[in-house]
Symmetry: C2
Subunit: 353 residues, 2 copies
């Protein structure tokens, strides 16, 4: 069994490293040998000196697509194109694909899952939400026997780092953003993070899983720009109520529709979400029988994300039909308004959160 990696950036190189390091235990779990055969990368292998797998580097995607030995491919390029065309072509050939690409899953997941199901291939994306936190598989396999009506989380590490600096260390937004950029936590153009677009894609993926229908990120209420406007009064308001503000992405079932939002939200200090600092992420799942369950961990970063990708690779190698129970053929109706218990400045307060 051979695998291929598309893209040798931070997550791609981490995936190769984690895969090679844990190859023996993956093989023990499978009862078969497995090898990395290709790394698709525009740059020359010579640009990665001391790379232990430099003979795997190729620039032609068709080498991978047409190689019958390759059964599982990790797409770690990011963005819609060429990732979408590559993934679609691979699935249509019956190869399994794993990805950390939340934009691809949020926008094209329904179509790609349908192709995977038809071809009995796996399309797995644990790493697309919450980095190293196991959340997609537990939602699918551990909480499936319960009715889940609400999910709320801190899904963007960059904004959580900024809010931590603003609340804990008294920094202003601009200063905190600059620090995040210095640490490499924020891009030079941080708009997808700061405006809530990244968190919105992730909550829509989670909502699609728990509600069993495609939730379109374009229909969500995204008020995340408020974090750049947070001021002394907002902070004082949260502290006076015994809590803090977090950028909460949330999806709630209301009858036959759902409410989906991303906005700066009051979180009481009693909540497990209040103590989630810096670049950590956490996801609260509210099950009817199970009650509140929270998953916490590193939501991004080279090795946490790579670890989730490699685990998906191992699962896809083991059982190519693993994703076939996910069906997002229908689109979920999203309410155009979100119900708040209270609003103060840039802060929303929700009931029971």
């Amino acid at each position: 069994m051979k695998i291929a990696i598309l893209g040798h950036g931070v997550v791609g190189s981490g995936t190769a490293e984690v895969f090679l390091k844990n190859k023996k235990s993956i093989e023990a779990g499978l009862g078969k040998e497995v090898a990395l055969k290709y790394v698709l990368e525009i740059r020359d292998a010579g640009e990665f000196p001391d790379c232990a797998y430099s003979d795997c580097f190729v620039k032609d995607f068709n080498l991978i697509l047409d190689d019958p030995e390759v059964t599982v491919v990790a797409e770690l390029i990011g963005g819609i194109e060429p990732a979408y065309s590559f993934v679609k072509a691979l699935l249509l050939k019956g190869k399994s694909v794993v990805t950390s690409n939340k934009e691809l899953v949020a926008k094209k997941g329904a179509e790609l899952l349908a192709i995977a199901r038809e071809k009995n291939a796996a399309f797995l994306f644990e790493a697309s939400v919450g980095g190293g936190i196991p959340i997609i598989r537990p939602l699918n396999q551990c909480l499936a026997a319960d009715s889940i009506n609400e999910i709320a989380g801190i899904l963007n590490g960059t904004t959580n780092f900024i809010l931590t600096k603003m609340f804990r260390d008294g920094m202003g937004f601009d200063e905190a953003l600059k620090l995040a950029q210095e640490y490499g936590y924020a891009e030079r153009d941080p708009s997808d993070d700061v405006n809530g677009i990244d968190a919105c894609r992730k909550i829509c993926i989670l909502a699609s899983i728990i509600f069993g229908k495609r939730v379109n990120p374009d229909n969500a209420l995204v008020l995340a720009e408020g974090i750049s406007k947070l001021n002394r009064e907002d902070i004082a308001f949260c502290e006076s109520k015994g809590g803090t503000a977090k950028l909460i992405a949330r999806a709630v079932k209301r009858g036959d529709k759902v409410e989906v939002s991303v906005c700066p939200t009051f979180v009481s200090n009693d909540s497990q979400l209040a103590g989630v600092s810096d670049v950590y992420n956490a996801i609260l799942v509210r099950g009817e029988a199970t009650g509140d369950v929270v998953f916490y961990g590193k939501g991004a970063g080279k090795y946490p994300t790579a670890s989730a990708v490699v685990n998906d690779i191992a699962n896809a190698l083991k059982n190519s039909g693993a994703s076939s129970t996910l069906i997002w053929d229908e689109e979920e109706q999203v309410l155009s308004e979100v119900t708040f218990a209270e609003k103060f400045g840039n802060i929303r307060v929700f009931d029971n959160l």
Copy 2:
């Protein structure tokens, strides 16, 4: 497909209820009809008035064992006997078994897993640790591609409730225990909880999963009796260090051996474990690539536990070979001493916790 439930106590009746409530969605996931056929119970069905499935009550275990229609059985009796004999007989007949019985799994899990593997049946026990918190399946399926060297958790709700009352509300141990008994959180004989035996069984189950060898509860260092002796000085010590005390069950790899302990432990307020109050549980998993991941939720109670049992039933119905990757044939060597960074009164301080 038919299922049976052994024992109609709190978890047994909750399991029947959650199963019947979510029957349609379980059937949709399976693509087949499934029904509850038997409830094994010593008491007469007449003692459960308004029970919707009173025609399922039987007193003879052999009816279930010998019925070829029954493919999955939930053992919810608790304790070693007759649970052990029943489960072994069922697995030997090739029926899948799910259980919430931590004593059975900790003491007899290795043997029962071996029988299940041989008979291609499932032996699943998600509900045996952490109640409604998904932890066993995520460890098996989501973090398997990472090296996990440490796991530490608040695994006993009764003692966590008592410690919360002692630290937050200034109660003494006896007063807090009495309150726990009034609320139904503690048994009349609370010794298995207070002495750490319950938490020890659970950490040994988790350690067996991450290390792939049987970890014997009899070899662990259990110093949990310390919680009944906690005094003003211990509490002041924890507060002066910016934290609290929790009954932490912990397993750490040290070379080719493991350190397993249950004792009152200092937890810094920065830790996600510090905010775990009342009867909630949380488990910290420390992966080399993934970093720290924490799973939080209700560690006990009728519906959270029943929900985990029903989910295992659904998984066993779907894939009877689901447990076959777990092998505990060898016994893990447990160190007879545990390394503390510091000790004050009844409180142990560990590095990095």
